[in-house]
Symmetry: C2
Subunit: 424 residues, 2 copies
Amino acid sequence: MPLVVQKFGGSSVADATSIKRVAKRIVETKEAGNDVVVVVSAMGDTTDELLDLAASVTAKPAERELDILLTAGERISMAILAMAISELGVPARSYTGQQAGVLTDAAHGKASIVGVVPERIARTIQDGGVAIVAGFQGVSETQDVTTLGRGGSDTTAVALAAALNADVCEIYTDVDGLFTADPRIVPSARQITSITSEETLEMAAHGAKILHLRAVEYARRYGVPIHVRSSFSSKRGTWIGHDDSQSEESSMEDPIIAGVAHDRSQGKITVIGVPDVPGAAARLFAVVAGAGANVDMIVQNVSSAATGLTDISFTLPEADGEATIAALRAAAGDLGYADLRYDDQIGKVSLVGAGMRSHPGVSAKLFNALFDAGINIEMISTSEIRISVVTRADVLDDAVRAVHTAFDLDSSESEAVVYGGTGR
Amino acid sequence: MPLVVQKFGGSSVADATSIKRVAKRIVETKEAGNDVVVVVSAMGDTTDELLDLAASVTAKPAERELDILLTAGERISMAILAMAISELGVPARSYTGQQAGVLTDAAHGKASIVGVVPERIARTIQDGGVAIVAGFQGVSETQDVTTLGRGGSDTTAVALAAALNADVCEIYTDVDGLFTADPRIVPSARQITSITSEETLEMAAHGAKILHLRAVEYARRYGVPIHVRSSFSSKRGTWIGHDDSQSEESSMEDPIIAGVAHDRSQGKITVIGVPDVPGAAARLFAVVAGAGANVDMIVQNVSSAATGLTDISFTLPEADGEATIAALRAAAGDLGYADLRYDDQIGKVSLVGAGMRSHPGVSAKLFNALFDAGINIEMISTSEIRISVVTRADVLDDAVRAVHTAFDLDSSESEAVVYGGTGR
């Protein structure tokens, strides 16, 4: 019997009505002839409410205690969901991360899964029941409760799917799947039917609000096919990392481009008048790393022969901007630069596609499209399957649309209406 | 260093402000030179809210799932309390029943503790920290989460105190301790300084809303002294089962009477015209037991020589009345009685005192006091250290006051004002 792992997020189980709807869907999957394991997040705003409660007694809660506190959220949703499924006549049992055998390291608040021993889950399935597992949580070697941090529930679902050798890990969401661009910016964006894990990782890493990187990486490592789909419909969503070659729905040739991602959460720091001597950049980025900043793109200008000085620009999450500027100022004596500039009015557009590898000329086409749209390129970075460019923030939407059109990603008008109308 | 186990109920930790107050008290106990282990209930109405949530998806939740659900309540309160204590500069760690080593049988919703292995608690104390333990919960042999049912948190506290060989188990409440009678009925009731476990059990079993029977029984079995006291003051409350002979506060001679309990939650069933043949009563009470009723007092009239028939009356919790009447009706053919009557307008007053054993005449004094007050006695039952009588419900308060006065339990007028003024 095929085994399906289904993951439902907090908005899918926000109240009793939603939970009953999800229960119905799970029972339908089971009655269609599948074994079903469900991973569930905390209901709606539960996690925020618990964080508020903690904030009302202390500004700096101990991480171990915060983890114990937050895991109460999934404990509630999983039990209620199990009850709702049983009410529909299908036996269901809920399991905490610990009971499900989700073993982690001891990094409270951002624990990594070190192993999954889902004996009780396997037994529940064998007995014909549905197993409900609390997402986002595990247990450390010392039997302390841990949480997995952002993207934790998706990661729990993928990890369980891998350990149980599931046929698919279904991630339920409030949209129909992944799109070639954000439909709020590009109303003609198309739903992606199938995409590789690598492309998904590049899209996610460069601003597409889809699955968390961590879950996709885990799925790629263990070969777990992911199906991202809507909890409001039963139509096909987006398959990630699934070998479609034997599927009826596979196309003769994979498209060159998977989609266009954009990111407006980055800032740019320019360090002016850095001495162009060996080791200068290394010292500079050691300071940046020390400030905890996650640097994305780096550009170093050709240095002036007259002065022996150069400028170095790099992008980083806006959230890291202040601390990084402070660290660079503190190290001004050591680094010997002339001036610092911070610019938070930038945007980044990224074109992602595994087909780029074998198709030269993609960059040229991208640059031309932006030139035709009158958009200036400030920085460029590339990977094997991605090209990213930095623009002014106020022309980012235009840039995304121009690139989307240039690479023939726009859907026909009728589809555009459908996607534009969902208001996502 | 003395070890104190402190238990705080849901009303003591109803919100962040209460939790901070409790945290301060715990820190004071610690700083006074004690090791401290704390048992905590769920915050305020949390348990009821969780039950409502379950009721919104199913009328009959599986007991295992209900237990998982309800234990989320203590998980929240214990983590928040640990945070609040740490905020005051004392290291604190919270532990679930499972982590604290509270092992139970698998009777979900009403599990019994089968063992306590508080290794982590002992280690936390050794390390100079305060251990916070979730009350009301444990773990079964199959690693499933269980709840202990009513009185569960008190029982957790006593069981941990026994396993850790604590010097005292302090039960915090919103009153100053146990009283010689309910101060709402007897404004001149006195606070009891010291009472035996046996007397406490009789008082609790016969209507006094004090500690749960189960916790007192556990404490008696393992010789754990209990101190019931107010979470709003630091004055001495009531010590239960504590050997006061070496204490300055011990009196030269223990009082004969500990207190007067009352109960208006009982009903009375009278079975009229039962054949007075061997085995008739046995058959009758087999039916009653089959209905799940917890019978308290039984009176059988002298049978009529003319008819060979007798009447049998017994008391039972009102909640069991309906089911018991139905069971008796269904068995009418077998039992061969003439009629059934149900009376829920009864009250019971009980006089409790270990000193009764060696003081004859207590019964006579009790009956006289009721006679003087014009109160009719309908049923009587006694134990070695208790006399209970059933009266009409509408004279129960008068009965309690008459008995309280007759046995010199009234405090001086000035004390009466104090106790009467607390509005308990």
